[in-house]
């Protein structure tokens, strides 16, 4: 039980419309990731689902019930915040147990729920500590624990890993994936991180300026984006956009992913000069400046030797090229 439906929700702050009519339905048990550029309204939308921000118009429907006017704590939703937001004066145990205590659950039940969550997240040694006495990673686990304890039908995560270092981020990401499998609850997750979005999501929602650009499974968005925005936003390094006219195409823009651009030292495809090379060990990124198309990125497998200012030729793999019209819409 944790299906969510947004019906044409909007949000206006003062005179500016931040969320411009979003329709979305999330199935029970699904893992949905919101991505989009900074300031596009991801956090605002999440807070509207949680009930922390009122909805200017439209409806939030949980399990078939309109909860637009229901208080946050009564929605059966738990939220994990970017800044952890642990209660500084309470111990880890009390932090995790507070929601149940507020709901009037008996002591034994609270103890049991806290015990289960802390075992799941390996927090047992820290139960009597205060948040100030924990590391960043431990704090984030407590914040997740606090959400689990309430056995909500819907979890909301607002960039939960962005304050952690790279190694911890990977570990916690795997932890969250495991929790999703074990709990089977619906999860909505906001992130800036491509890898988090691609690896965790059943479906990704790409937002831009308060509107949904595209919704789909990660590979759908990657291989079959609806417009240049989604094509450019999903995938790292970014997709190359070539001028259609210069390639003799009818389309305005041709999108080619860096791994679908072949590079060679002779031939007569797209001429350019190497402007920068990044060697990452497993792969090599070559940045090529073309007179016509601007700066293009080529991704090569393994270690490759190219030197700056070297003249090269680029060839797009025709079947993997995506064609867009002047407004950025995909031509199929």
């Amino acid at each position: 039980m944790g299906s969510l439906e947004l019906r044409n929700v909007t949000k206006v702050f003062g005179k500016t419309e931040i969320i411009k009519g979003i329709d979305l339905s999330v199935k029970d048990g699904e893992f949905v990731v919101f991505v989009g550029p900074s300031g596009c309204g991801k956090s605002t939308l999440l807070r509207m689902i949680a009930g922390l921000e009122d909805v200017t118009s439209g409806a939030v429907v949980l399990d078939g019930q309109d909860v637009t006017a229901v208080a946050p704590a009564k929605r059966g939703i738990a939220m994990v915040f970017q800044s952890y937001a642990l209660y500084p004066h309470l111990t880890v145990r009390d932090n995790m147990g507070l929601a149940l205590r507020q709901a009037g659950a008996p002591r034994s039940e609270i103890a049991q729920a806290v015990g289960r969550a802390s075992a799941m997240l390996a927090l047992d040694p820290y139960l009597e500590r205060r948040p100030a006495e924990l590391s960043g990673g431990q704090r984030q686990r407590v914040a997740i624990g606090r959400a689990i304890v309430r056995t909500p039908s819907l979890f909301l995560f607002d960039e939960p890993l962005s304050n952690l270092d790279a190694a911890l981020r990977v570990a916690t990401r795997i932890e969250i994936a495991r929790l999703h499998r074990e709990l089977g609850a619906t999860m909505i997750y906001v992130t800036h991180d491509q890898v988090e979005a691609m690896t965790l999501a059943d479906r990704i929602v790409v937002l831009r300026a308060g509107q949904v650009e595209q919704v789909g499974r990660p590979m759908e968005l990657y291989n079959d984006p609806a417009n240049t925005f989604v094509a450019g936003f999903i995938g790292s390094p970014r997709m190359n956009f070539l001028k259609g006219a210069a390639l003799g195409e009818s389309a305005d823009t041709v999108g080619v992913r860096p791994e679908h651009l072949a590079i060679s030292r002779q031939g007569n495809a797209i001429p350019g000069t190497v402007s920068h090379v990044e060697k990452l060990g497993g792969e090599t990124l070559v940045y090529v400046r073309s007179e016509v198309h601007g700066l293009l990125t080529v991704r090569l497998f393994g270690e490759q030797d190219f030197s700056v200012d070297e003249a090269v030729q680029l060839t797009p793999e025709p079947p993997r090229s995506l064609r867009f019209d002047a407004a950025g819409r995909r031509l199929r």
């Binding site: 807070r47 704590a73 738990a78 970017q82 800044s83 209660y87 507020q102 606090r146």
Partner: protein, 278 residues
């Protein structure tokens, strides 16, 4: 980052601070030592510490015999503590509303409340007196408490709303998700986090109230409602001033503020330096 300590600078800084402390404490010191001396000794050697010859508690005995000194004391304490309580409570509540909720006129209300910082409440003395007469509150401690609460609120709202804006939104939202009411969020999450600011406001509010002579003289000069500052004035006559008694009364008057100050000072220091060290 901690700069390597440079002995020269550190000595200079300490010398300045010590000099300032001495200058600030000097009048207090003079009052206290002279309160234990005989009248002749006060005038002969005002800076000397009391010796067995000059030792005289006549000031204290006069104060304790003359008038209901203990009563004045209690009046001052009642007025100060009650006003402080209301200033902190209402100030914090108003600050929370201003910093936490978006509503029409939020800015205007905030500005209106802050206006009181710049306009001295004494300008309104006549109107206040008329109001108190109409309400039948003249010669009651309630009158003083009401006036002092009004006097303290602007600065309290101003300082506290600034601090409350810095309390993490996520924390308050986490409380809302966990089912805390807005009152619980205010009392249990926000207030403990702005405690240093509360202490700062408490000290800035308390001292002018304790020392005030103006409003007790105008609103509550009766024997039953005299505050200690007003009560001490009986010893200052037009022709003769009983210096022993005045000094003894002043020395006694320092004690309670000192105690209140010590209670708040630990928090106060954190309040002043808050944000300096993250």
């Amino acid at each position: 980052m901690r700069a390597r300590s440079q002995p020269g600078r550190s000595i200079a800084a300490h010398a300045i601070l010590i000099a300032y402390t001495l200058i600030a404490l000097f009048p207090v010191w003079v009052i206290v030592i002279n309160s234990f001396k005989s009248r002749r000794a006060i005038f002969a050697q005002p800076l000397a510490i009391p010796t067995p010859e000059t030792w005289d508690l006549v000031g204290y005995t006069t104060v304790l015999e003359n008038g209901d000194f203990f009563g004045y004391f209690l009046n001052s304490l009642t007025v100060t503590v009650a006003s402080l309580f209301f200033v902190l409570l209402f100030g914090a509540m108003a600050a929370f509303a201003l910093s936490e909720y978006r509503f029409r006129g939020n800015m205007l209300v905030g500005l209106y409340l802050a206006l009181g910082i710049m306009i001295p409440i004494r300008l309104g003395t006549v109107a206040i007196l008329q109001m108190m007469v109409a309400a039948g509150l003249v010669n009651t401690l309630t009158a003083l408490i009401l006036v002092y609460t009004a006097q303290g609120l602007p600065l309290a709202v101003f300082i506290l709303s600034e601090f409350m804006r810095n309390v993490s939104d996520d924390l308050k939202n986490a409380g809302r998700m966990d089912g805390l009411s807005e009152y619980a969020i205010f009392f249990r999450l926000v207030l403990p986090l702005v405690r240093p600011a509360m202490a700062t406001v408490a000290v800035f509010t308390m001292i002018p109230i304790w020392n005030d002579l103006w409003f007790p003289l105008i609103l509550a000069p009766s024997e039953d409602t005299k505050t200690i500052t007003l009560g001490s004035q009986v010893f200052i006559g037009q022709f003769v001033t009983n210096w022993n008694a005045v000094l003894a009364a002043l020395s006694l008057a320092i004690v309670p503020v000192l105690i209140l100050y010590l209670i708040f000072s630990r928090q106060l220091i954190r309040g002043i330096t808050a944000g300096a060290v993250k």
